[in-house]
Symmetry: C2
Subunit: 151 residues, 2 copies
């Protein structure tokens, strides 16, 4: 074991309220100034669902609980730095008040309808993830990078 | 990036036919002689869904397609060797004929009802995963190690 190289696991978090999604305006490259879902790396010794809660707290100061897994996205080109696979949770806010963490220029509530109209520049493959989230709201399911989607 | 240690990603595969599940009788430790789901490590550069197809082929000689993600299991103690996080796919068999790979003593179709009666020794946290699969069959959902379950 351990003689092979593996993708690096991360988590991303979808938080919706009143048809708005909580997004991070990125302060740094890659995708500086683009919008991304809150998220980050999973540490050794930490369950992914705990990483999700920790990253939500660090990036947005919100206390969040997982309610579902939207999917696992692992296209090797989805992050320009290295092969990152992300587990995307759908969460609910259970406490805290929004304050941007160190990696965020700002935290913004973005109208779901704006994503459908492609009004924003979205980092990584998060536009695909948000598209899948709209599918999930309509009819459930789980998603992955190469899943065949009926557009 | 890369200065931290992360869990190592794997995939596991649930394949059901006629109320039987395809299980691998493990040839080696840990959990020698126990039953486990087919699965294995995700390679760098490989999407998790491709790792799922590759591992199914290597371990069982079956061609498999993903139809859903059951969950992501990442309790740090679930594998005695190191922190392994697994993405569990539900798949369908689309080709091939069953033949055990190098790591398997045998490939066996096990009655779902036998798992409920705890008739077998199951490796890792795969008994929990199979329990969650029965929930999924009844009412859908996605799962993770510390999810609160109504038993």
């Amino acid at each position: 074991m351990g003689q092979y190289r593996n993708p690096t696991p991360t988590v991303d978090i979808i938080l919706e309220r009143d048809s708005n999604l909580l997004m991070v305006r990125r302060k740094n490259d890659p995708f500086k100034d683009h919008l991304s879902l809150p998220g980050g790396f999973v540490n050794e010794g930490e369950p992914v669902e705990d990483a999700m809660k920790r990253e939500a707290m660090e990036e947005t100061s919100l206390e969040v609980h997982p309610i579902d897994i939207l999917g696992v996205y692992s296209d090797p080109t989805r992050d320009p730095r290295k092969h990152i696979m992300t587990v995307v949770f759908i969460g609910i806010i259970v406490g805290g008040r929004i304050r941007a963490g160190d990696d965020a220029a700002s935290i913004e509530w973005i109208k779901l309808a704006d994503f459908e109209r492609q009004q924003h520049q979205i980092a990584f493959d998060h536009a695909q993830i948000l598209h899948d989230y709209l599918h999930w709201k309509a009819s459930g399911g789980t998603f992955w990078s190469t899943k065949r989607r009926n557009e």
